[in-house]
Amino acid sequence: MSHSHAQTAAYDEMDPHGFQGKSHGDHVIVDWRILLGVLLALLFFTALTTTFATLEQWVAGEFAIHIPHWVNVVGALSIAVIKASLVCMFFMQLRYDKPLNTMIFLFCLLAFGIFLGLTSLDLGKRDAIYGFKKGTIKPGGDAQSVTLTGGKADIGPRYETTMGKSMVEFARQRYIDRYNAMGVDGEAKWAAEMAHHLAGHKHGQAGAELPDANRSFSRVGVTPHLYDEHDPVAVRALEHLRSGGHGPAGELPAGESSSSGH
């Protein structure tokens, strides 16, 4: 192609609408100081959101001041949105790019919003037209027995069914049974470990503290249904704790302990 400059300015048959001149040379080279500044801002917001969440935990645990739950959610997600915008605008260069890319991305987020909105609308309002559908979204489902049909799960001893228990109860029952088989009172062992767990989150064997790396923080705040009728073993464990470790936890035989169903 050997157009002279004058020809190109008048009419270019390869570029009849004159797009070429505009799109040429508008690739921005972002200044490294801007990139570094964005990185520092991102690190600052990360520190901010983590400090905020940790402080909230600490204040609740130390002084029993419970900051409303939505503050935590709204605060953390607002900071996440700010961080994401920074990454999109500067690192992904949407700020310097053609607006088409930004529009595509925003339409995608709109689709996400519709997706999320309609799903929550369904879960929240499924019984608004047909009342009988209310039961189908009952929290917890039926929490009943799980039977594996597509092969066996590769988890130690091969079980094909949870024998009428929920997964959580079944896991607990296997722990208790394992200790019973060793000649230890499984249920008492479980209750003691559970108390240990609830007290200081030092899981496992007494004396063998977990490395700092995997110690979970003490949970505070509202968790209303923790020890309700779904969880007969945990209810007795709590009674066991309240009575100073000499309660009814160890009295029932392990087999009966959590088979009462729902």
Binding site: S23, H27, I29, V30, L35, L39, L42, T50, A53, Q57, N72, V73, A76, L77, A80, A84, V87, C88, F91, M92, K98, N101, I104, F105, C108, F112, F115, L116, T119, S120, P139, G140, L148, A153, I155, G156, S166, V168, A171, R172, W190, E193, H203, G204, Q205, A208, E209, L210, A213, N214, S216, F217, S218, R219, T223, P224, L226, H230, D231, A234
Partner: protein, 256 residues
């Protein structure tokens, strides 16, 4: 082969006489189209993660206690560390694009190397300190003597992993085997946790693979001011990985 011989005798890097494909009007059009295509692909990636975020939102709505307890099992320290690692790698990728645009070949490669190290660190932290203990109950210890953990006895991999009774089994769905769960929906929390973080980790692996490819090609002198399309589009993919983690971190580790 970083250079090629031209007729005039001057040695040129391969990016210097980059020719756009014949069906494009210009290299600029080719670049814009490639970038547009990458953005379209990224939207499908966002929608993939949208499914996971949607599951998180819905199950959290139904079982807030299980999610509060589940979040309590995670260590903010490791989430924070991984966030910092990913943010730094995102910065180095942005710098790599800049270096390609300015023909700073050494710094282009250096930035890509730093990014790959960050990707490796992210996966290492994830698997060694988060997945393995929660899944199996085996902890990784840097302390070679293991003196104060001797009570539990069981070790794996030449004593590097040490078993702690009653900690593992925090697995999703039918694989759940944690005896001290406090809520019947905890297996569901673990399904969301592993679903979200493992698909994200897969994206880290794919992104690192793309950037390795870019790095190998950069040694051939392919990237420079006239041709940096692949650096830019691979970089966009890496930024998306960072973007997803920016939301996963507060949702899984901070909100309770």
């Amino acid at each position: 082969m970083t250079t090629i011989q031209t007729k005039s005798g001057r040695k040129q890097a391969r990016w210097e006489n980059y020719q756009h494909e014949a069906h494009w009007r210009s290299a600029a059009d080719e670049f814009d189209a490639a970038k547009l295509g990458m953005w379209l692909f990224l939207t499908t990636e966002v929608l993939l993660f949208a499914g996971i975020f949607c599951a998180y939102a819905m199950f959290r709505m139904l079982y807030p206690e299980a999610f509060a307890i589940g979040s309590g099992y995670l260590d903010v320290k490791f989430g924070l560390l991984n966030t910092v690692v990913l943010l730094i790698s995102s910065f180095t990728v942005a710098m790599a694009v800049r270096c390609a645009q300015k023909n700073q070949q050494f710094w282009l490669r250096t930035n890509l190397y730093i990014t790959l190290v960050c990707a490796g660190l992210f996966l290492l932290i994830k698997f060694l300190f988060e997945y393995t203990p929660k899944w199996s109950g085996y902890f990784f210890f840097l302390d070679p003597t293991l003196g104060h953990y001797e009570k539990s006895g069981q070790t794996a991999l030449w004593g590097m992993f040490h078993f702690v009774e009653g900690y593992g089994g925090k697995r999703p769905g039918a694989f759940f085997d944690y005896p001290f769960a406090q809520h019947y929906a905890e297996p569901l929390w673990w399904a969301v946790y592993y679903g979200g973080t493992a698909i994200h980790a897969l994206h880290v692996v794919i992104g690192a693979g793309l950037l390795t490819w870019v790095l190998v090609r950069s040694y051939k002198g392919i990237y420079g001011p006239k041709n940096y399309t692949m650096v830019e589009t691979s970089g966009l993919y890496w930024h998306l990985v960072d973007l997803v983690w920016i939301f996963l971190f507060p949702l899984l580790y901070l909100i309770h």
